[in-house]
C-alpha cells in the first residue's frame, strides 16, 4: 500500500513541529549567546537580536545596533566612506535576511526564544493566556514602525541639524539599544547583570535608561501572559517586513482548500487573523508573522498551508500529520497525561 510507504516528504510532513522548533531554538540560542567563547563570529549584520553588550560570548551582532551606528555621521562624511559602509551593511543584512525571511524571528532570535520559554512556563502552571481584542491589535501594529523611524532618525539628528532643529545630545546615540530588552536579558545568560542600571550623568541618559528598565519589566511580565508579547513592538520586525517580498522562505496558502476552521489562528502566537480568514492571497507572511510554522502544523486540510523554500515545498499541512500531532490516531480508553 502506498499509504504506508516511508518517504522523506511524509516523514517531514508528519513531524512534531513544536518539538523540532524547541530544539532548533535552543541550538540557535547557544550559538548566538555563547558562540563567541568558541570563536564563532557570524558578523555584525545579523537580522536577529544578538547583543553586542554580551561581550566575549556573543556570536554576532544585531543589525539594529549597526544601523544606528552607521547613521550617526554628519552628512558630508556620509557621502564618503560612511555612506558606502552603510550600503554594504544594508546589503549584507538583506542577504542574511533573505535566507530565512521572517523565520529569523521564529526560529533563531534569542529574545523570541526567551519569550517562548516563558510561555512554556506559563503553560505548565496552567495560567490562562491573555489576548488582545481585535481593535487593540490593530492599534498597536503601528508602534513598531514608529520605533523603527525613531531608530533611524535619532542617530541622524545627533550628527546633523535636520530642518534647522538643534542637534540632539549624544546620550541618544544608540536610542534603540537603550530601550531594547535584549541588552539587559541576553548578557544575563552569560552571568553579567551589569546592564541593569540607571544612568544619572545627564538628563537624556536618565530618561533613556529608565525607559529601558521599564521596558524590560514589561517584557518579562508581558511575555509571561501573552505569547510573543514583544514581537508586536519590535522594530527589527518592521525593518524585515520591508524587505520580505523577495525572500526565499515563504508561507503559501491555497485558499480554495481552506475551510476557515480557524485552527491556524488558534495556533498562531501572534494572533494573525489573516492566516485563517484570508482565502484569496497566496503569500501569507504578514507584518507580524514570525514564520514559526505552527499554523502549518495545526492545519487539518491536505495541502492548504505550506512552507516553501525557493519554490520547493518543504513542509506541508496534511491530514495524517494533523492527526498524528494532535495524538488522535489511537483509540485509548484512558489517556493519562
Amino acid at each position: 500500500m502506498t499509504k504506508n510507504k516511508f518517504t522523506l516528504r511524509r516523514a517531514i510532513n508528519n513531524m512534531n513541529l513544536v518539538r523540532f522548533r524547541f530544539w532548533f531554538q535552543i541550538v540557535a540560542f547557544v550559538l548566538i549567546v555563547y558562540g563567541g567563547y568558541v570563536g564563532l563570529d557570524l558578523g555584525d549584520k545579523l537580522p536577529t537580536f544578538a547583543c553586542v553588550y554580551n561581550g566575549e560570548g556573543t556570536g554576532g551582532k544585531c543589525y539594529a545596533g549597526m544601523l544606528q551606528h552607521d547613521l550617526k555621521h554628519p552628512i558630508d562624511m556620509f557621502m564618503g566612506y560612511a555612506g558606502y559602509a552603510f550600503l554594504i551593511s544594508l546589503g549584507m543584512f538583506m542577504v542574511w535576511f533573505w535566507i530565512l525571511n521572517k523565520g529569523w524571528c521564529g526560529f533563531v532570535c534569542p529574545l523570541g526564544t526567551m519569550q517562548d520559554w516563558l510561555t512554556i512556563l506559563r503553560e505548565k502552571t496552567k495560567i490562562r493566556y491573555s489576548e488582545y481584542s481585535w481593535a487593540n491589535r490593530g492599534k498597536i501594529k503601528s508602534i513598531k514602525y514608529i520605533l523603527l523611524i525613531l531608530l533611524l532618525l535619532l542617530p541622524v539628528m545627533i550628527a546633523n541639524s535636520v530642518f534647522g532643529l538643534p542637534k540632539l545630545p549624544n546620550g541618544l546615540s544608540m536610542p534603540f539599544c537603550d530601550i531594547c530588552p535584549g541588552r539587559m536579558m541576553i548578557p544575563a545568560f552569560t552571568g553579567h547583570f551589569n546592564q541593569f542600571y540607571i544612568d544619572f550623568s545627564s538628563k537624556t541618559d536618565l530618561v533613556m535608561t529608565t525607559l529601558g528598565m521599564i521596558i524590560v519589566g514589561l517584557f518579562l511580565v508581558g511575555s509571561f501572559v501573552k505569547k510573543r508579547f514583544f514581537c508586536y513592538f519590535c522594530p527589527m520586525a518592521a525593518l524585515q517586513h520591508i524587505f520580505s517580498k523577495p525572500a526565499l522562505l515563504k508561507l503559501y496558502k491555497d485558499g480554495a482548500k481552506c475551510t476557515k476552521c480557524g485552527d491556524c489562528y488558534r495556533a498562531c502566537d501572534m494572533d494573525i487573523l489573516e492566516i485563517a480568514d484570508d482565502v484569496t492571497s497566496k503569500n501569507l507572511v504578514t507584518e507580524d508573522c514570525t514564520l514559526c510554522l505552527k499554523c502549518v502544523a495545526a492545519c487539518p486540510e491536505e495541502g492548504c498551508l505550506e512552507a516553501n523554500f525557493a519554490g520547493l515545498s518543504i513542509f506541508e499541512s496534511t491530514k495524517e500529520g494533523f492527526i498524528l500531532r494532535m495524538a488522535m490516531d489511537q483509540h485509548k480508553e484512558n489517556h493519562a497525561h
Partner: protein, 423 residues
C-alpha cells in the same frame, strides 16, 4: 373461538409504522445493490435494533439530547454522558408534528416535535439542549418544553466573521458546559475533556479514511451506506461505532485492492448537498444510486459536516481546550443559517474538484427557508464554475416518489451525455 384481542395503543402503532419505514429502507440497502459490504451488517443490525425493535442502547447513562450539530459532543462525552442527536427522519412523526406546527414548516422539525409530542423514545433524553440555529428549531424549543421535557436554549450567533459573534459563542459553550456539569453533578476536568477530544478526533479520522476511498475511480462503498454509517453516530455507543468503522475501513481497503466498484463504469459521480437526509428519509439518495449514479461526497450536517473539521488545540489545558472546541463548531460551520455563505460555496467547489464529481444535487426540504434561499447564490456559483447542478425540493411524504425519480433520472442522463460528449 375466543381470540385475545387487544387494541393497539397509539405508541405501539407509531412504533409499528416507524419500523415499517425503517425496514423498507434497510431492505433496499441490503438487496438492491451489487457487491454488498460484509461489515455493513453491523450497521444494518444496529438500525434494525433501534428503529424496528426499539431496543434501548444506553441503559444507565445520562442521555443528552441535542437538537442540532453545533452542541459540542466532546463536552458531553467528557462529562460521562451520551449525546443523542434528535434530528428525526420519520414520516410517522412528521404527521404527528404537522398538527402542532404551521403547514409550511420544515419536515425535519415537524418530525422532531412530533416525536417529543408522542413521548415514545427507546432512549429518552434526560435533558435537551437546543442551539438557536434556524428559526424553526429555535421556536421548537419552547413547544417541546410545553410537552413536559427539559429543554435548555444555547445561544448561537447568526454571523461568524466578527469578533463579537465568536466571543458570544465561546461564552455560550462555557455556560452550556456549566449547566451540563451541574446537571450531571460532575466536573469538567482537563483529563476527561482531553480524552473526549481525542476520542471524537479519532472517530473523525476514521471517517476521513473512509472518504478517501471514495476519491478512487472504482468507488468501493455506496453513498447511502456512508449516510447510514454517519447517521449511526447520532445515537450509537462511540466505542462500538469506532470498532465497527475500523472493520469497515479494513474491508474497504481489501475491496480497493480487488478493484471492487459498487457503481457502473460510466456512473456519474455526484456531490450531494442541502438539507440533511436522516434515516429513514433516504428517498433521494436511494433514487440517485438506483439510477446508476454514485454519491461520492456530500455536504450535509448529518454526514460529512459532523466529521470533517477536527478540533485543534494549542495548549492542552482547560482554558484552551474549551475555546478550541467552541471555535471548531462555529468557524468551520457551513450551515446556511449564517448570513454569508461563501464558505459553503467554496466547500462544495472543493469537494467537486477533489472527488472528481460530475454534478451536484442540491436538495432542500420544502419549508426549509434557509436552504431554499441559498439556492440562488449556490446555483449561480456552480454555473460560474461550470458544474451541472440539480435543485430539488422534497419533504417526508411518500407521495412524491414518481416526480422525484423522473427529475433525478433526467439529470443523471444529462450527466452521462456530457461525459460521453467529452470523450
Amino acid at each position: 373461538m375466543h381470540t385475545e384481542h387487544s387494541i393497539e395503543t397509539s405508541a405501539e402503532r407509531q412504533n409499528r409504522h416507524k419500523a415499517m419505514e425503517a425496514i423498507s429502507v434497510l431492505n433496499a440497502l441490503k438487496e438492491d445493490f451489487k457487491s454488498p459490504i460484509h461489515s455493513m451488517g453491523y450497521f444494518y443490525d444496529l438500525f434494525e435494533k433501534v428503529y424496528c425493535r426499539h431496543e434501548p442502547l444506553h441503559e444507565g447513562k445520562a442521555k443528552i439530547g441535542t437538537m442540532c450539530i453545533q452542541i459540542p459532543s466532546e463536552i458531553i462525552y467528557a462529562l460521562d454522558a451520551v449525546p443523542i442527536r434528535l434530528c428525526n427522519g420519520f414520516y410517522t412523526d412528521d404527521e404527528i408534528g404537522s398538527d402542532l406546527l404551521p403547514q409550511k414548516s420544515c419536515p425535519l422539525v415537524k418530525a422532531t416535535v412530533g416525536w417529543f409530542a408522542s413521548d415514545n423514545f427507546s432512549d429518552k433524553p434526560d435533558i435537551t439542549f437546543s442551539p438557536t440555529t434556524c428559526d424553526q428549531k429555535t421556536k421548537a424549543g419552547t413547544i417541546i418544553e410545553s410537552f413536559g421535557h427539559t429543554v435548555i436554549d444555547v445561544g448561537f450567533p447568526r454571523t461568524k466573521e466578527s469578533e463579537e459573534s465568536r466571543h458570544y459563542w465561546r461564552e455560550s459553550v462555557k455556560s452550556f458546559a456549566v449547566k451540563l456539569s451541574k446537571f450531571q453533578g460532575k466536573k469538567l476536568t482537563r483529563s476527561n475533556l482531553e480524552s473526549a477530544i481525542k476520542k471524537v478526533g479519532y472517530a473523525q479520522s476514521l471517517y476521513h479514511k473512509l472518504t478517501e476511498f471514495r476519491k478512487n475511480k472504482a468507488v468501493p462503498i455506496l453513498g447511502v451506506d456512508m449516510f447510514l454509517v454517519t447517521n449511526a453516530f447520532f445515537f450509537d455507543k462511540i466505542d462500538a461505532w469506532i470498532g465497527a468503522v475500523e472493520k469497515l475501513v479494513a474491508e474497504l481497503e481489501q475491496r480497493v485492492s480487488e478493484g471492487v466498484n459498487v457503481a457502473g463504469k460510466a456512473s456519474p459521480r455526484i456531490v450531494y448537498t442541502g438539507s440533511p437526509p436522516i434515516f429513514p428519509n433516504y428517498k433521494i439518495p436511494l433514487i440517485i444510486e438506483q439510477s446508476d449514479a454514485i454519491i461520492v461526497a456530500d455536504e450535509t450536517c448529518s454526514s460529512n459536516r459532523m466529521f470533517n473539521d477536527m478540533v485543534a488545540v494549542d495548549e492542552w489545558n482547560l482554558y484552551d481546550m474549551i475555546d478550541s472546541v467552541s471555535d471548531k463548531y462555529l468557524k468551520a460551520c457551513t450551515c446556511p443559517i449564517f448570513t454569508q455563505n461563501d464558505d459553503r460555496i467554496r466547500r462544495i467547489i472543493q469537494l467537486v474538484r477533489s472527488y472528481s464529481a460530475d454534478g451536484v444535487i442540491y436538495q432542500a426540504f420544502a419549508g426549509c427557508q434557509v436552504y431554499e434561499m441559498e439556492q440562488r447564490s449556490v446555483l449561480a456559483a456552480m454555473e460560474r464554475e461550470g458544474i451541472p447542478t440539480l435543485y430539488i425540493e422534497s419533504d417526508y411524504s411518500p407521495s412524491q416518489h414518481g416526480q422525484l425519480t423522473t427529475r433525478v433520472e433526467a439529470f443523471i442522463e444529462s450527466l452521462k451525455n456530457r461525459k460521453r460528449m467529452k470523450r
